[in-house]
């Protein structure tokens, strides 16, 4: 088990963003195969592949695809979540940029399977360059008749539009994304079991399918090749591959597609190993998941079950590597700042809790920590986790609680000695700026 390029196989082919080159490499084969199948057979194929959502939660994809009403009585919508915002993750960016046709094809297949006539790709506003590639891909697909009226003679119509976001991490959350698509503030909406699932009443109260970019690409691969082949990779319950975005103190950062179940250390090795020091910690799945010490890393395999068993998550695959000069307390302070900034403010536990966690983290990391601050942090976290309206509140707590668990001694060192245990200056203190000139000279 190691590097296995299924989805990223053609990423380095010159001109692969052009539809001719893409078709020469087996592009739109998945769509042609799907068009010749019964709708239910497409869903069954995805079911047989064992594919699970790659947006973070790992929810079985076929259940969503199967959940939409199987008729044309009312409009259905297919949404692609390309609002990648999780710190440490950049796989969707690379796929949008280099393999836009794979995504477009995957979405059309989903449209066929779910009786939908309209699809939207929600791309974050900063991703103009990747979005241009998607624009070109969609225009070319229209010219070839893969989009528009009566696709490949199936009698099925499908239109695909791009909707650009405008800078908000929270809009990656599925119900917030739908609010944003409807032209509202990016606040999440009430969720199951208090409200119907999106597959029953989603965007504009119509049945809606929402998946991540990588999920659509994988579904396309399944249709283009076969479900058995996809299911033959990976572990018992986590099938296929996962794209990991490796960054941090690593020799060769970048996206690596690994077979599910690959040992974490193997990926580290493939990416060239740690630089400027020895391995201290790894965050395997983006900033929202728990940090793991070097010893724990030896035990972890990259699949949903193994990560879960070791008290972390595979998440979105934002794999961040830290060497022994990294100050975990300052790292967590910056993480807390991120969630404070991105909290949408709709519910009180998260809006207030993320602020308090940042304040306490800031106090510790600037040398003003007090005895009992660690307990205070844990207490705030316990009041936010599981009590907030959407997943962002939970995600704000997990990294901090995880870091206290794994590196409690460093927090204690900061509180006691008012300085960093590793003497690192990666996050210089923020000077309160009154007069810019004075503030600068004070530094």
């Amino acid at each position: 088990m190691a590097i296995l390029n299924l989805l990223l196989e053609h990423r380095d082919v010159p001109g692969i963003t052009n539809i001719d080159v893409w078709e020469a490499h087996g592009g739109y084969e998945g769509l042609k195969r799907a068009a010749a199948m019964e709708r239910q057979a497409i869903v069954d194929e995805v079911k047989a592949s064992g594919l699970r959502g790659r947006g973070g939660a790992g929810f079985p994809t076929w259940i969503k695809w199967n959940g939409l009403p199987k008729n044309y009585d009312q409009p259905h919508y297919v949404l692609c979540n390309a609002d990648e915002g999780e710190p440490g993750t950049f796989k969707d960016r690379e796929m949008l940029l280099k393999l836009p046709h794979a995504i477009v094809e995957g979405i059309i297949i989903a449209g066929l399977a779910t009786y939908s006539k309209v699809g939207y790709i929600y791309i974050r506003g900063e991703y103009t360059e990747p979005a241009w590639q998607v624009r070109k891909a969609i225009d070319q697909a229209y010219q070839r008749g893969y989009l528009g009226k009566n696709i490949l003679g199936t009698g099925h119509d499908f239109d695909l539009y791009i909707h650009m976001g405008a800078g908000s991490y929270e809009c990656g959350e599925e119900s917030a994304l739908m609010s944003s698509l409807m032209g509202e503030r990016g606040n999440p909406r009430l969720k199951f079991p208090h409200a119907p699932l999106p597959t029953v009443a989603g965007v504009w109260q119509a049945p809606t399918l929402i998946n991540n970019v990588e999920t659509y690409c994988a579904a396309r691969w399944v249709l283009a090749n076969s479900a058995e082949k996809y299911a033959s990779y990976g572990t018992e319950r986590s099938k296929g591959t996962k794209i990991m975005s490796v960054s941090g103190h690593i020799a060769r950062p970048g996206n690596y597609e690994v077979e599910m179940g690959t040992p974490l250390m193997e990926l580290l090795h493939q990416a060239g190993g740690v630089i400027n020091g020895r391995l201290k910690a790894v965050i395997p799945g983006g900033s929202s998941v728990q940090i793991k010490t070097a010893e724990d890393c030896e035990k972890i395999n990259l699949d949903y079950e193994s990560c879960g068993a070791n008290g972390t998550l595979l998440g979105s695959g934002g794999f961040m590597v830290f060497n022994d000069l990294t100050d975990i307390v300052q790292l967590m302070k910056r993480t807390a700042e991120f969630y404070m900034h991105e909290s949408c403010g709709k519910c009180t536990p998260c809006r207030e809790g993320t602020r308090w966690m940042f304040k306490v983290m800031d106090r510790i990391a600037s040398g003003a920590g007090q005895q009992g601050d660690i307990e205070l942090l844990l207490s705030i976290a316990s009041q936010v986790d599981g009590r907030s309206y959407c997943g962002l509140g939970d995600a704000a707590c997990w990294p901090i609680v995880g870091a206290i668990k794994a590196f409690r001694s460093e927090f204690e060192y900061w509180i006691e000695h008012k300085c960093s245990p590793v003497g690192s200056r990666f996050f210089p203190p923020q000077v309160e700026a009154v007069n810019p000139i004075l503030a600068l000279s004070a530094r």
């Binding site: 999780e86 710190p87 405008a166 991490y169 944003s180 032209g183 941090g248 830290f322 993480t335 990666f426």
Partner: protein, 216 residues
């Protein structure tokens, strides 16, 4: 912007009518055509609020003035406050005027590890502004961005519709030098690019290539 008065009888806050910014509409005919095209993508007009704000941000020279928000509201049949509420939620809509180059330095986890704050301090020193500030000559606005999701190329800086990757404290000043030479107005350029991306057929009718150049 908005002010309210309290009605104790009904226990509600009543918004006072906002002094409507009296200003002539500034959407060009081409912009109106773009907006009407985009409106057809959705089952209701309101959904075009985000794209309409992007068009407004371009047409009004890179920021959303009260007049711009009112024009969007009028064109979509929404209330002023509704549109203002949307515009203030998203960080990429500029409610304040920006400099000719809006330099956003990613200071999130990976970038911070690899020296983003040192870059920020160098820029603050070079430009004489603090985070979020605009230089007196209106050339640069410097701000901090959350993860730009290109962490493999840390440190990442966004200027308009371009990403600059692999910036280090040593080479970061050359980016400022390059930008000083450039005549573009990056906030409006970014809005223009985003509007075009949402217009079907834009890739065949020009639109141009928007490769993020690694200047450095």
């Amino acid at each position: 912007m908005t002010s309210t008065s309290y009605n104790a009888l009904t226990d509600t806050f009543i918004p006072k009518p906002i002094a409507e910014p009296q200003q002539a509409d500034r959407f060009s005919d081409a912009a109106i055509a773009e907006l009407e095209e985009i409106v057809t993508h959705y089952p209701e007009r309101k959904a075009a609020c985000l794209p309409a704000l992007w068009i407004a941000q371009r047409e009004y020279g890179g920021s959303l003035t009260p007049g711009a928000i009112r024009e969007v509201a009028d064109r979509l049949g929404l209330s002023y406050t509704e549109v203002e509420g949307v515009a203030s939620f998203y960080t990429m809509y500029n409610l304040k005027p920006r400099g000719r180059h809006h330099v956003e330095v990613c200071t999130c986890l990976t970038c911070a590890l690899l020296g983003a704050y040192d870059i920020v301090h160098r820029y603050e020193h070079e430009l004489g502004v603090t985070m979020g500030g605009t230089t007196e000559d209106g050339e640069f606005t410097l701000s901090e961005a959350e993860c730009l999701n290109y962490c493999g190329g840390a440190t990442v800086i966004q200027v308009g519709d371009k990403y600059f990757t692999g910036v280090t404290p040593e080479n970061c000043l050359s980016l400022i030098e390059e930008l000083r030479k450039s005549q573009q107005f990056t906030p409006a350029l970014l809005a223009d690019s985003i509007v075009k991306i949402q217009t079907p057929g834009a890739s065949t009718s020009g639109g141009g290539s928007f490769a993020a150049q690694d200047l450095i």
